[in-house]
């Protein structure tokens, strides 16, 4: 089991060189997609390999020349990788413009760099039915752009096939995730996020079979779960959460049984419906994802009976439904949408009487030692 997990982690850490290898072996083309919500199935249906772009956690040297330093780590990290030439093997890049930072910095990419394929997509910020017609047009526009780039028609059959493949990936990821609810502690959280992320940077066909084997092997494990406080870790909107923090939480005696990470529940919780027109189905899918701090849920704000935070409701319900004792909020520095929602999320957790703590993460986060004190203090508080 650990062997497979290590293999997937290695794959993730070598993600940029793996692209070159894949291209050499297959002669195929690769499109880099920025987090989050990009319709990878369309890219796949056009005969291309979609890979999610994760920036490095390393020091930022080149990007600071071009971007203000109070942009989030995810944005600056990916930009740094671009400037370092790590994305040179990509045949194109694409992004859903999920926030102001992604929007503007991605546009900057296109000014100084030549990409064979460059696509900006708009996902409505109003998550309700009134946005559906425009969203549908955006999906059709993506489809035509990919068809033009590849010369391949994205037929409904092909798109349905890709959707089924990706649905299978999501359902396998969910099965893996369920293991940490039924057998807390068997899978380390830091292994799991990387194992999920590996699925976002390699061909799904290959990944799905690895994941099946991994799930089988977990059944053979004789690991016994002890009595440890169960926590949910939230936040860190679209980057890869720091391995060290997740490990620290689990080393200090808690077990992480849920998250809302992009490299976690946010990616695999919902499937694309398989019936009817696949483009229409995809629009429904994008309007039906788990709540996100970046988006607006109009129905909550028009009437009198409003919730503090649709996202907070989601978190609180998840905690209650899964017998979780507390929430650890990871806050990526300079993520404006999350920082604003955070104020309401905290109140929501207080209202629902859910113990929580916040850890700042990212390039300017405090030392691991301070984090250790916070986590220890928090777990002592939970176990009292």
């Amino acid at each position: 089991m650990q062997l497979i997990l290590d293999k997937l982690k290695l794959r993730y850490s070598r993600r940029n060189t793996e692209i070159v290898k894949w291209k050499d072996n297959t002669g195929g083309k690769v499109i880099g997609c920025l987090p989050m919500y990009f319709p990878e199935e369309f890219v796949h249906a056009a005969g291309l390999l979609p890979v999610t772009l994760f920036g490095d956690n390393g020091p930022i040297a080149h990007a600071n020349r071009h971007l203000m330093t109070n942009a989030c780590g995810a944005v600056r990290g990916t930009f740094e990788d671009l400037l370092l030439g790590k994305y040179d093997a990509l045949d194109g890049v694409a992004a859903v413009l999920i926030c102001d930072q992604v929007r503007f910095f991605f546009q900057v990419w296109s000014l100084d760099h030549e990409f064979g394929f460059f696509h900006q997509m708009w996902r409505p910020f109003n998550i309700d039915q009134s946005s559906r017609p425009f969203l549908l047009n955006e999906l059709k526009r993506l489809k035509s752009a990919l068809e033009e780039f590849t010369g391949n028609a994205i037929t409904p059959g092909k798109l349905c096939g890709s959707i089924r493949l990706f649905n299978e990936t999501r359902s396998l990821m969910r099965a893996l995730n369920d293991i940490r609810k039924t057998r807390p502690g068997l899978l380390k959280a830091s292994d799991l996020v990387k194992a999920i992320a590996a699925g976002m940077i390699m061909p799904k066909e290959e990944y799905n079979s690895i994941l099946k084997e991994l799930i089988t092997q977990t059944r053979d494990s004789d690991y016994e779960s002890g009595e440890k406080p169960k926590v949910m870790v939230c936040g860190h909107p679209c980057g890869m959460p720091e391995e060290e923090i997740l490990d620290l939480i689990e080393e200090m005696g808690a077990v992480i049984v849920g998250d809302d990470f992009f490299t976690g529940s946010r990616y695999f919780s919902v499937d694309v419906p398989c019936s009817g027109d696949p483009v229409e189905a995809y629009a429904d899918f994008l309007l039906n994802l788990i709540p996100c701090t970046t988006y607006h849920y109009p129905q909550n704000w028009i009437g009198q009976d409003r919730s503090l935070s649709t996202y907070g409701d989601y978190v609180a319900d998840y905690v209650r439904e899964n017998g979780i004792q507390g929430v650890i909020l990871l806050r990526e520095m300079y993520c404006d949408p999350f920082d604003l929602e955070f104020v309401m999320l905290k109140r929501k957790l207080e209202e629902r009487n859910i113990a929580h703590i916040t850890l700042n993460t990212g390039h300017e986060a405090g030392s691991l030692e301070t984090q250790r004190t916070r986590i220890q203090g928090y777990l002592e508080m939970l176990s009292c």
Partner: protein, 419 residues
């Protein structure tokens, strides 16, 4: 130009502007007391003509933030939000607005607070954070919030679709407002509002263009506050007069060879939202260095130049869609370059606002772009919209002095003129 030039007194239009602003807030307070109209808080480029046509009292928290900044009151409002758990690096327009709201609700003595809203309208064409800001207002005031979700103008997206999507939402907004007020929407009144708006917009644009003249009759900082009438009051017919009279005044200056200050040497572009708390410091500093700020793309935010009484609904939707901040980076870079050409500018000061990402993220790129295209000097200074904790007078002063020395030597060093 030079030392013989006559130096202008304060423009009479500045006094008129002061009165327009004071009257607007006075009227709003009176409306709140009498309750004769519902009050709505809105954003700069939401389809506000719809609100005026429905006879709402329409208030702008962003304009209020600028006022609080200029009056050195924003810091206190921002501090209140920090005590409530809002991060220091979040937009200070937003924190000012939430801080004054919290102060108002909790009896903490906010600075000249806006009368409480009955309804909130927000458009995300300026940034995506603003929607969250308005959500928090909706929570604190417990009033309904309508969000106009504005797709970006980006390559490949058919602009008619963008406008269509906005128009569709304006239709929903009108239906909501009819229910909210119990009144039928009056399309004739809308046409009249848009007509006043189009005249005001034209007056505003014409007035701003007077600075194309060399020497400039005014500094940009003198003109900048005059976006207020076109933003907040353009539904009124008298606003066009304000700009007409102002243009006259500037014309007189040009005729008589009057300049705004002594020893004007350089025609310089300003990029970004002004640092409202530091206007006096910056004006004095720039004048002492002979730098005359001439214009800025910032003013384009308040142009509303699509207004057309022949096509009221469409033109309102177009103003929302084509709002400057809803444009992509390439458009902004090219627009800026064109301003340099039209206004014969020789350098630029780019003002980072540390908490405003839409303005600041791409600023370096735009500065680089015009430098490459035109071989002009640029400098970037750091500060913020209304919170002076991000601003260092000493540091900024030194940077501007160095900039002026570089202008003096008039030899942009090859390759790296942005410093």
């Amino acid at each position: 130009m030079g030392t013989q030039a006559k130096i202008g007194n304060r423009l009479e239009s500045q006094n008129r502007l002061g009165k327009l602003i004071a009257d607007h807030y006075q009227e709003a307070r009176e409306i709140k007391e009498s309750g004769r109209k519902p009050i709505v808080w809105t954003t700069t480029a939401a389809p506000n003509e719809i609100l005026w046509a429905m006879d709402f009292c329409v208030l702008f928290p962003e304009a209020y933030a600028a006022t609080c900044g200029a009056r050195h009151a924003a810091y206190r409002h921002c501090k209140i939000t920090e005590d409530k758990g809002y991060e220091h690096h979040l937009c200070t327009y937003c924190r000012n607005g939430l801080g004054s709201t919290l102060a108002d609700i909790e009896g903490l003595d906010p600075f000249d607070p806006l009368p409480a809203p009955d309804l909130l309208l927000v458009a995300n064409n300026s940034c995506s954070l603003i929607t969250k800001w308005w959500e928090h207002l909706s929570h604190y005031w417990n009033v309904p919030l309508i969000h106009i979700d504005t797709p970006y103008i980006i390559p490949g997206v058919p602009e008619k679709d963008v406008i269509g999507h906005i128009k569709h939402q304006i239709g929903d907004l009108i239906r909501f407002l009819e229910e909210f007020t119990g009144k039928k929407f009056d399309h004739d009144r809308l046409r009249e509002v848009v007509k006043n708006g189009s005249e005001s917009a034209k007056g505003y644009t014409d007035m701003m263009k007077m600075n194309k003249h060399n020497p400039a009759p005014s500094t940009y900082f003198d003109l900048m506050p005059h976006n207020f009438p076109n933003l907040v009051l353009r539904y009124k017919p008298e606003v066009a007069d304000h700009y007409r009279l102002m243009k006259q005044e500037m014309n007189e200056r040009i005729r008589e060879g009057i300049v705004p200050f002594e020893n004007m040497k350089y025609r310089v572009y300003w990029d970004g939202i002004p640092y409202w708390f530091a206007m006096r410091f910056l004006s004095k500093k720039l004048q002492s260095l002979g730098i005359c700020l001439v214009t800025s793309a910032y003013s384009q935010l308040f142009a509303f130049d699509r207004s057309d009484p022949e096509r009221p609904l469409d033109s309102v939707a177009e103003n929302t869609a084509y709002f400057y901040l809803n444009r992509d980076v390439r458009y902004k870079a090219e627009y800026t370059e064109q301003l340099y050409r039209d206004y014969d500018l020789e350098a630029g000061i780019f003002a980072y606002a540390m908490t405003c990402k839409p303005f600041s993220i791409t600023m370096h790129y735009i500065a680089d772009y015009v430098q490459k295209k035109l071989g002009v000097l640029s400098t970037i200074i750091e500060g913020d919209l209304v919170d002076d904790t991000f601003f260092d007078e000493e540091k900024t002063g030194i940077r501007l002095e160095t900039f002026a020395e570089a202008l003096e030597s008039n030899k942009p060093s090859v390759g790296k003129t942005v410093f």
